[in-house]
Subunit: 227 residues, 2 copies
DNA sequence: AGAGTTTTATAAGAATTAATTAAAGAATAC
DNA sequence: GTATTCTTTAATTAATTCTTATAAAACTCT
């Protein structure tokens, strides 16, 4: 989970970063709104924590700009305790509004609540579609479209391909692949089950093991699919 | 929009009702948790405002019970200002936590923010009529019209078809289907109840299991109805 | 180059999972 | 209270998918 933190008060931003990192969130920290706007399309933000009072572009403006394109949750954390500010903040598209000084644990709890609402309760996530290099794989419809042709995959084939696509560009260790697909540890007796499935996948993708275009073997490690 | 308000302090509940009614929300007001549980399946709640400290079933318990079946936003409004209570409340499934005394306008703003998140940003449409590909299914009247012919469905058949239609295009896992129709977990001994109902549905839709036009089997996963 | 290791290919049997029946059990309506 | 309809269970059959075993090929290292 990637969380955007924007606050011109460095100490506060740093503090929030510590709390969030501690909970294993990945934090993109900015002391200036302007830089956020340059980068935001590149980052895949899941939630934003914004300060209100900042130079040049204030939190409310930033929130409005973000909302033109994105629907991830936005939480204001600010020293402005006036009710009218809370109401404005929530009205322009924020999901929550916390006033400083705040309890770290409360902030974390609110972050978690928002992420739960956004990710778990909300079924419309495009996290379930991966699209690259003529490959479109959709975990909702269980469809695999390869070079504009729909291809039927079995459950196991789909799981393996899904796992490789999620980690596209990176090697997936045979063991990790096994864990991901079967959800258990293997490596008792020799197991070439995965190889058989990989072969089937390559077959369906008109790929060869000699010079594979898609699923490459990384000797002694596992498999990877190029980005 | 239907809002559930539960508070054993009548004055507070009445006050909240006034604010909400003023904003043209429809309010279901309860002074007792028990009655809520009796009625909740009949009401079509979009958001709930719960007090924490109540006799017999407290707000936290009520929240947990609601969350077993529903994902609409829940806001706690309570005199308990302890941080640990806020954190617990948010952890068990609430979306926001406001402490008494609260500003009416802030409450309204938070209600609106939650509803916006739930309704607007969340694309999952919960209309009661779904119409596509010669299928018209109406969850209010429980009517099913297939290629201009009304077709009688039993309660279970309707629930299954409704669930598939709501997720049309996407695979519905057998387990999820079970959860949705029977509202409980199964997976004890194997259970082909669903298969029998699916067969009946296909029969009524003049469909076959070999080359189904409508309800397709996704091996090892579940069923889906094409968009 | 050769020994040892790891991956690939192939095919067949094993194991899963789904569909079909028929009938018993439960719920509902009359 | 009985009849009817609906739901579930159970047993069987059918279809699909997974695993195993084997042999062959490719790679690594000395």
């Amino acid at each position: 989970m990637n969380i955007l933190v924007v606050d011109d008060e460095k100490e506060i931003a740093d503090l929030i970063e510590i709390y969030l990192t501690n909970e294993n969130y990945h934090v993109y920290k900015y002391y200036d709104s302007k830089n956020v706007l340059n980068d935001i399309d590149k980052l895949k933000i899941d939630l934003a924590i914004l300060d209100v009072m900042m130079p040049t572009i204030d939190g409310f403006q930033l929130c409005s700009i973000i909302r033109e394109k994105y629907t991830f949750p936005i939480i204001f954390v600010t020293a402005k305790v006036e009710d009218i500010d809370k109401i404005s903040g929530l009205s322009i598209g924020a999901d929550d509004y916390i006033t400083k000084p705040f309890q770290p644990l409360e902030l974390i709890a609110r972050v978690k609540a928002q992420l739960r609402r956004y990710k778990t309760y909300n079924k419309t996530n495009d996290d379930n579609i991966i699209d690259f290099r003529g490959i479109t794989i959709n975990n909702d419809t269980h469809e695999f479209i390869f070079e504009d042709e729909p291809i039927e995959l079995t459950k196991t084939e789909f799981s393996i391909l899904w796992c490789l696509c999620q980690n596209r560009g990176n090697v997936v260790k045979t063991e990790d692949l096994f864990m991901n697909v079967w959800g258990e540890k293997y490596f008792e007796n020799d197991n070439n089950t995965i190889m058989v499935h990989i072969r089937h996948l390559r077959e369906k993708m008109h790929d060869t093991s000699k010079i594979p275009k898609y699923i490459k073997t990384v000797w002694g490690v596992g498999y990877k699919i190029e980005k």
